[in-house]
Symmetry: C2
Subunit: 158 residues, 2 copies
DNA sequence: GTATCTGCAAAAGGTTTGCATTTTG
DNA sequence: CAAAATGCAAACCTTTTGCAGATAC
């Protein structure tokens, strides 16, 4: 195979059912002998369920309501671990903190409001093809991309 | 007009001749009563001439060889100023420092080597069209995008 | 029981800011 | 000469790290 570019939902086992997604991540962790602590479980649930691309700070705040002693460092460590396993996608917003997607951990475009920071996904099947073209034309072995649009959402537009 | 999306070279006056590009930026600065200090001039030259997307740190090192008293803060301030004027494009590399393109200040895709960090431009005319589609489908008023591919370049591939 | 995880606090980048001094136009 | 830019150091933010004590399996 020419490159190791991540696959789409059907291939990667990403489902709209966040419960199934959570179980999938749990299985991956057990597989590799990572431990399921209460803090981790809480973080995993948030990442698997939320559709709004939370920041570490936001995850932290939510986890704290259930486990008040949880530390920011633990959230960072867990998110980093999941990123390494390919079970969470980090989205850099170029202003401030990264945001995380535990529901669709493969690269895909986002549309980000420069006013309220709302972030939505954008489906564009042609990107797999474009990625292949980039690999061909440049000789690079493309393994990842980030593609984000910025602008005002309908509400912030006034 | 539906959106304020930046235009391509022919429209924006970006030329392969870095001297002309430099003059263009100088004119923009004078226009707005910004002053042309020796430090600024040195930074502008580097940004207009270089094709390798330097970091602030790299610009700083180069400027220092001509003006040894120059400070990092001045480089940051100048780059921020030019970004605000739309005369420099900031490219986030998601590892470490941003890199800057003073030759093509409008959004365009990059291909970045995850080994040696080499960064090349990628021309894809169809993106203007895709941007329009994103605006239509989402209702967002798209003003900018970032689109970067990551992977090993032919040399780093071994 | 032991390897792993947590929580704390300190450190580490990268970038921004405040302000006195210098310089440009 | 007035307005703007420089240079320095301190401040800022986000993320990472080291390590002693706690905990999952």
């Amino acid at each position: 195979m020419e490159n190791s570019f991540p696959k789409h939902p059907s291939a990667v086992k990403v489902m709209d059912d966040s419960g199934v997604r959570l179980n999938h991540i749990l299985a991956r962790l057990r597989e590799r002998d990572f431990r399921i602590t209460p803090q981790r479980m809480a973080i995993l649930k948030i990442l698997a369920e939320s559709r709004d691309h939370p920041t570490v700070e936001e995850i932290y705040a939510q986890v704290r309501s259930a486990f008040p002693t949880t530390s920011l460092a633990t959230v960072y460590k867990t998110v980093t671990l999941l990123k390494g396993l390919g079970e969470v996608l980090e989205v850099g917003t170029r202003t401030g903190s990264s945001r995380y997607d535990g529901g669709k951990p493969y690269p895909h475009p986002h549309v980000i409001c420069t006013g309220c920071r709302a972030m939505i996904d954008f489906e564009e099947p042609a990107l797999d093809d474009l990625t292949r073209q980039v690999a061909e034309k440049t000789g690079y072995q493309i393994s990842d991309y980030q593609f984000d649009f910025f602008g005002l959402c309908p509400r912030c537009r006034k």
